[in-house]
Symmetry: C2
Subunit: 217 residues, 2 copies
């Protein structure tokens, strides 16, 4: 199958496959199979094969996939050859951790700047990342070719921050702020809400509990 449209659900799994492939290569494996990849990625083997078929891959029937070649194909599909500079907005506990996180740069997402409203820290650096004031977002985006804005501000500043990022031309936002930000259609937002994740886990813990009495007071 030729490289056409790749389903979202598949896109979300490609980074996991890529990581598994890197580990397999490091372990010296030249070939692998959908079973092995599925085991490592924690999914069904048929799903792996279908996912990879969207990339126009060619594994070898009876043998499996060439690790090096598949790594190349997954990498190309994800566009990991590109570097997308990131600006982190909001330097609370989480923002600071994200600004310091070295894994981002390794994967092609260098944190080129941070932004915070506190004048006491603008002008300083956090692990070599310069801290600027929010009204410099447009300049920063232009100067560094920033592609992705990370919002780690308190909830009440999130929309405002998103507006600044969008106005500056950023087309992708990763939002940690526990709020729903509204952006134009051409901007993609992914939300990571840590409290929501815990609440989902809490829901299932709660469900497993014996039924309560007095459900309707």
């Amino acid at each position: 199958m030729a490289t056409g449209h790749i389903p979202e659900a598949t896109v979300a799994r490609l980074p996991v496959y890529l990581r598994s492939l890197t580990e397999l290569a490091a372990a010296g494996d030249a070939t692998t199979s959908s079973d092995v990849l599925a085991e490592r990625a924690g999914v069904n083997p048929a799903k792996v094969r279908k996912d990879l078929s969207y990339l126009g891959t060619h594994g070898t029937r009876g043998v499996g996939y060439d690790v090096r070649h598949l790594t190349f194909e997954v990498s190309r599909a994800l566009g990991v050859a590109n570097t997308w500079p990131v600006v982190v907005c909001g330097l609370g506990n989480l923002g600071r951790a994200l600004a310091k996180h070295t894994g981002f740069t390794e994967r092609g997402f260098p944190v080129v700047a941070a932004v915070d409203i506190d004048p006491a820290i603008t002008g300083t650096t956090v692990d070599d990342v310069p801290v600027h004031s929010p009204d410099q977002i447009a300049e920063l985006v232009a100067a560094h070719g920033v592609a992705i804005g990370v919002i780690a501000t308190p909830g009440n500043a999130a929309q405002e921050t998103a507006d600044l990022l969008v106005a500056a031309g950023v087309r992708s936002i990763l939002d940690f702020s526990s709020t729903v930000v509204t952006v134009p259609d051409h901007v993609e937002v992914r939300t990571v809400d840590l409290s929501t994740e815990l609440q989902i886990l809490g829901f299932h813990l709660h469900q497993d509990l014996p039924p309560e009495v007095g459900k309707t007071p």
Copy 2:
């Protein structure tokens, strides 16, 4: 409809609705509608109505939903009345930020302890959260009734940490480690992988680029 099984996709949206309802109540609104909730949650109004119908809600046709009552029903469905103590494993940049994060306690997920392998910090505290060594996980879980383990260790320690948590009786894990951890069926794992999120955004940025030349070298 009576409170029966609630679809996963719905469960994942309930915390967002709950937050919207809290804001509406704070703003003094006594009633609201699926349109308003949909707007705030960034979803389709029909989805809101269908989601709420799983809770066995009773809005009023022609009027809408009573904010107070709906808040109560969503809260009950999520089980937010419960408190689920959390232990944070791994005190790197991210683990430290999570241990300090005050929003968790506010939502019923107090961080009662942290765990790290570095003997230099065991015995200390991070924002009043005591730091212990990993071999004390079982004790900590038993002593505090820990329900949820957060894994913020480097990838190579994640599985080992998960095993300790599971052995100690933890039934829910929130994994930030960029690895797939394997656990028994009765344990629920949710994975939050920051690099993967960026890679998904990168994929779409890359897709919007003009087609490259030399796709197959």
